[in-house]
């Protein structure tokens, strides 16, 4: 029996190839993402573990920073002196480093990486743990001197003697490059500027008595843990103490956020590949078994029992899974190597030679590859086992052709009804958590229902779709329509592969269009300023920038905004950590606000605040209440609730609670903040273009901020949403590739099955071109069917998603018709492309052999 199985496997290797490709793709993405993240994690663990001081002392962050406030937490520099006498301390170093700073060259071009990795200015000292060494020039000594890392110097064509401007919070200052520092370990992609310690304290922190942290070396024989314990005993709980290991861990987890994104994207691809691949494998095995019905019947007639037949099919699946997983693993290694190279281009010079393949990678790869194949082959194998010995004698064209679809209809409607109920429940739900889980359930159930009931929809939909074919393409059109209708199960399953991907795209594009529209509406409603000056990644900027904007020609009114981390203790006893916005008092002139109680002036008054009325109601806050508020650095205050706002979408467009307060109040408690945005209105008689020109000229030395009017601002927000869409389109691309494999597979097998028909048609005078068109049209009709099903499902999902978004304040609903039409037109192209090879194969058939084909 095994021999027969092996023979059959190798006899059908051509047909199994496309299924194998689906397995390979999914395994490759799983393996690639695992290898990549393992490699990166190992590299950075090593980097941080080897470069972290034995114990590091930093300021405690008592309130989580949801939105960057521009605050730099510091410790007193004299702490270094104070702990020198603590037992086990060998030596100390001051760390003075600021991340997310802007450094520009002589042409006011930023020298930082364009990839979003930070530019870091820090003090220069050398220990045996330093990740960099001085390779050229000399160390910085005193103000006006700096080192630059070699990679940045290379990429920006900077050399010793060039001048840089560092745009620090206390004020920008110029430095001359006096040396080049080169990474001895992996460069994580950041740009680094080194200053001497005193300069760094003065220029970066604005205070020579402060540092951002203190690195403590342990005396020999003292463990890091022991040292940390000793320091804790001496310092109490005022500061954050971390051993080298803890430091490495938290540094790696900070970096992890970015790496996790890559990992999840890759796993998303793997998931899509698996999901779509399952259809492909199920279809391939179903067709192989249908074609081999006689052979299986003969095996049964010769005495093979059902289990043996089933086992032989499953063995074939196992072989396919093993081969696919092995090739997929190899492809995954290549994929990871490619990603590592790509990271290199982005400035993160990982080494492909140090690739880490943990034991989990092959285990998971084989589990996914073999598991998926096994799962997908199970139903066809059961069907194969049910082939009766009589099948050896009967002349059945395709098994399952005539079987009624009643079971599918029943199961499909039940699951579909449950899914619809979940989606309706989601639309009616009042809180977003409940709505979200109902949405997930509804999406899964409706997807399953559509897959199950797909074959039932084949007849009605394709009747309509292909209805114009006979008129448009004559008998060729009629035959292709009929061929697509011939085996609804097969057509349904083939189209389902395409449907899954397009449904996802449909749903997400509706969601993102609705989000975009909501944001647009919100901006129209609330933004009253002529221009907004801010950083495109919303990072705060030094006050110098604000001053420059104020002094710009034509600028009459400038309202500053900054973010302040805040912790509110509410009347219901709950402590809410959030971020408050601080505005200057003429906010009303640059924003349109509505209140249920109080007004802007009351909210922005000294020691007052305003918040969203819904949030206030939820927590029992009334206008006039006194709230106990905590700011960073354990600063406590009692603020009066001056106003309650009524802004649609305030839950979404800002941090929790929509808390805002006066600029003066913020400055009083958090004096070292930086502005995040400034809103500017033109003076009377100054037109917008004039003001824009004035602002752009004034802000030219500060390339980190841009001048935007309402339209530009919408564009910026859209850009943020578009990033999500790019990912969706990439997923779509992969889903389509696999779905195309499925269509090719189906067509190729259909062409083989219909060999005699094709021979007959050619004999009675069907030209090759007509034959090719017949197959192409069939392919197109299947693809468009899948696309329509997918879009319909995607629209339903999109409506449900929008209901969830509406709970978050994004009330607008938009259908991106352009995308929808493009998808349908695209599916025609997909159909044509998928038919290329099968059509060629059919056209090349020898007429006589085809007629004589058994």
């Amino acid at each position: 029996m095994l021999k027969a199985t092996l023979r059959s496997f190798f006899a059908h290797k051509g047909r199994l190839f496309l299924s194998a490709l689906a397995v390979i793709l999914s395994v490759a993405f799983v393996a690639g993402s695992l290898i990549f993240s393992d490699t990166v994690t190992r590299t950075f663990d090593r980097l941080f573990a080897s470069t972290s001081a034995d114990v590091t002392i930093t300021a405690k962050e008592d309130i989580d920073e949801g939105i960057p406030s521009g605050l730099v937490p510091t410790v007193p520099a004299e702490l270094a002196e104070r702990i020198r006498s603590v037992e086990g301390v060998e030596g100390t170093h001051l760390d003075v480093g600021v991340e997310n700073i802007t450094v520009v060259d002589a042409e006011n071009e930023p020298v930082g990486p364009t990839t979003g990795a930070p530019t870091i200015a820090t003090n220069w000292y050398v220990t045996d743990r330093s990740p960099v060494e001085l390779t050229d020039g000399r160390e910085p000594a005193g103000p006006g001197e700096a080192l630059l890392d070699a990679d940045t110097a290379d990429s920006k064509n900077l050399e010793i003697g060039d001048t840089l401007t560092v745009l620090a919070r206390p004020g920008s200052f110029k430095v001359e490059i006096v040396g080049i520092a080169t990474f001895t370990t992996t460069n994580p992609g950041a740009a680094l500027v080194f200053l001497d310690t005193a300069t760094a304290q003065q220029e970066l922190l604005g205070d020579p008595e402060k540092a951002t942290g203190i690195a403590v070396d342990a005396a020999s024989g003292v463990t890091d843990e022991q040292l940390k314990k000793n320091l804790a005993a001496a310092l109490g709980t005022t500061y954050e103490l971390q051993t080298a290991d803890e430091q490495a861990e938290s540094a790696a987890s900070e970096l992890g956020g970015f790496l996790d994104v890559i990992k999840y994207v890759m796993l998303g691809f793997a998931g899509i590949a698996v999901l779509v691949g399952i259809f492909l494998i199920v279809n391939t095995f179903s067709m192989l078994i249908a074609q081999r019905t006689r052979e299986l019947g003969l095996m049964r007639a010769l005495g093979a029992d059902r289990r043996q037949v089933r086992r032989s099919v499953m063995t074939e699946a196992l072989l396919l899974g093993l081969v696919g997983s092995t090739l997929g693993l190899a492809t995954g290694i290549g994929l990871a190597a490619g990603l590592i190279e790509l990271m290199g281009l982005l400035g993160m010079n990982l080494k492909a030679t140090e690739m880490v393949i943990g034991w989990g990678t092959p285990v998971l790869s084989y589990a996914v590859g073999v598991g998926v194949t096994f799962l997908a082959a199970y139903l066809p194998a059961r069907r194969a086992a049910r082939v009766s010995p009589m099948a050896a004698l009967a002349d059945i064209e395709v098994m399952g052709l005539g079987r009624p679809l009643t079971v599918r209809a029943i199961v499909g409607s039940v699951v579909g009804a449950a899914g619809a109920a979940a989606l309706i429940g989601c639309a009616l739900a009042k809180d977003s958590a409940g709505a979200g889980s109902l949405l997930g359930l509804g999406v899964v159930l409706t997807l399953i229902a559509t897959v199950i009931a797909g074959p039932l929809l084949v007849r009605p939909v394709i009747r309509v779709l292909g209805g114009a074919f006979p008129a448009m393409f004559g008998s060729v059109g009629r035959m292709s329509q009929r061929n697509a209708l011939r085996n609804p199960r097969r057509t349904g399953a083939t189209a389902a592969a395409l449907m899954v991907g397009l449904a996802l795209v449909g749903g997400l594009s509706v969601a993102s269009a609705s989000m975009t529209k909501s944001f647009d509406d919100q901006i129209d409603r609330s933004l009253g300023a002529d221009f907004v000056v801010q950083n495109s990644n919303f990072m705060p900027f030094p006050t110098e920038v604000t001053e420059a904007a104020k002094s710009a020609d034509g600028a009459a009114l400038v309202v500053r905004q900054r973010f302040v981390p805040i912790a509110l203790t509410l009347p219901d006893g709950e402590r809410v950590e959030s971020t408050a916005s601080a505005y200057e008092s003429r906010l009303d002139e640059v924003a349109k606000l509505e209140y249920t109680a109080g007004d802007t002036q009351a909210a922005l008054a000294a020691d007052s605040l305003g918040m969203d009325h819904a949030f206030a109601a939820e927590h029992g806050v009334k206008a006039g209440d006194q709230l106990s508020v905590e700011f960073p650095g354990k600063k406590k205050a009692t603020l009066t609730v001056g106003a309650l706002t009524d802004l649609p979408g305030s839950g979404t467009f800002g941090p929790q609670g929509g808390v805002f307060l006066g600029f003066g109040t913020a400055d009083k408690y958090v004096p070292d903040g930086q502005d995040s945005a400034v809103y500017i209105n033109a003076g009377s008689g100054v037109d917008a273009d004039e003001l824009r020109k004035g602002l752009e000229t004034a802000l030219d030395p500060y390339p980190q901020v841009q001048v935007r009017d309402q339209a530009d601002y919408k564009e910026l927000i859209r850009g943020q949403i578009a990033v999500m869409l790019y990912l969706v389109y990439a997923l779509l691309g992969l889903a389509i590739i696999i779905a195309v494999l499925g269509v090719i597979n189906t067509l190729a097998l259909s062409v083989v099955e219909r060999t005699r028909e094709i021979g007959l048609l050619r004999a009675i005078g069907l030209a090759r071109r007509q034959l090719s068109w017949m197959i192409r049209l069939e392919s197109v009709v299947i693809s468009v069917f899948g696309a329509l099903l997918g879009i319909a499902l995607g629209l339903v999902w999109g409506v449900a998603v929008q209901q969830v978004l509406a709970l978050e304040g994004m009330t607008a609903f938009a259908i991106p018709w352009g995308t929808m039409i493009a998808v349908v037109l695209g599916s025609i192209v997909v159909g044509l492309a998928a038919a290329l090879l099968p059509a060629l194969r059919a056209a090349r058939m020898n007429v006589l052999t085809a007629i004589a084909h058994e």
């Binding site: 008998s475 209708l485 007959l760 004999a763 009675i764 005078g765 030209a767 090759r768 006589l848 007629i851």
Partner: protein, 300 residues
């Protein structure tokens, strides 16, 4: 190979009487020492308006002869004409068009497209060509074959005999110059087989069609006007107004003696007698098959 002058003479003299003609038709499979000659310099004329049967034992080349005459297979050497069109040397696309417009086919089995109903199958060659069928003729063919109440049925809903009748109707529907039937009764029981043979006979007698049928059944061959016997790739004998017994007797000689080449000169039937009837046909180059055949409705 025939002499060019002889071919030329026939070409001019008898396009109206000869439906298809082969000269020196040779078909070889394989190459070098393993070459097998399926057809060995065959000269043959298929007379218009007659029912010709081709018989011979397995491997005698009878199917190959049909395929070469019908433009389904390429030839190794020699020339083949359909009417006055030389089809040897035509390109694939022209051959396809020729089969579509000027030849009708009936095969042993699997004649019909399962997705199309009977009527759609019948009109398929014309649909492919994008031509409208001649409604009057189509009605007559359908009535002659008794398919009136089966037109909306799919092949799966028809019996084997009915399916072959639909195939026969399709072959007739475009009023081709020549109908090739390859073992049309091979898959049928004797009653249904007789019925189909009766229709082919009727097609020749009533509808003035030309039929070439390949068969190994002497009973089927007896329905024809002329039987050509093939052996080892040559035409070894022929028989006018055959009876089943006579054909069977002739076939037995293949078993006992093998192929006995008979005199080549006997073969052309009415050629010499009728060659001078028409000296020139003005519309000989017309691609329209109808233009050359006599009015099929004249007997009505």
């Amino acid at each position: 190979m025939s002499t060019p002058s002889a071919a030329h003479l026939t070409d001019l003299a008898e396009p109206a009487r000869i439906a298809a003609r082969a000269r020196g038709l040779t078909k070889a499979y394989g190459s070098g020492e393993t070459t097998v000659l399926a057809l060995d310099a065959v000269d043959v004329d298929i007379a218009r308006g007659r029912f010709t049967a081709v018989m011979g034992p397995s491997g005698s080349g009878k199917s190959t002869l049909m395929h070469c005459l019908a433009g389904l297979d390429s030839v190794s050497a020699g020339q083949v004409w359909l009417g006055d069109t030389e089809i040897t040397g035509l390109r694939e696309r022209e051959l396809t068009r020729l089969r579509r417009d000027r030849i009708g086919f009936m095969f042993q089995a699997f004649n019909l497209l399962p997705t199309l109903n009977a009527l759609e199958n019948i009109t398929l060659p014309m649909d492919i060509a994008g031509r409208k069928p001649d409604a009057e003729w189509l009605e007559r063919v359908i009535d002659t074959l008794g398919l009136r109440d089966r037109l909306k049925h799919r092949p799966a809903q028809l019996s084997g005999g009915q399916q072959q009748r639909v195939a026969c109707a399709r072959a007739l529907a475009s009023r081709p110059e020549l109908i090739f039937a390859d073992e049309p009764t091979g898959n049928l029981d004797s009653r249904a087989g007789l019925e189909v043979l009766g229709f082919l006979r009727e097609a020749v007698d009533e509808l003035d069609q030309t039929v070439v049928m390949v068969t190994h059944d002497p009973g089927a061959a007896a329905h024809s006007d002329l039987v050509l016997f093939l052996g080892d790739g040559r035409i070894v004998d022929e028989m006018e107004q055959p009876t089943a017994e006579a054909v069977l007797e002739r076939m037995k000689r293949f078993d006992s003696l093998g192929a006995v080449p008979s005199a080549r000169s006997e073969k052309p039937d009415a050629k010499s007698a009728e060659s001078d009837k028409q000296s020139a046909v003005p519309d000989a180059q017309s691609p329209e098959p109808d233009a050359k055949s006599a009015d099929p409705l004249r007997k009505d």
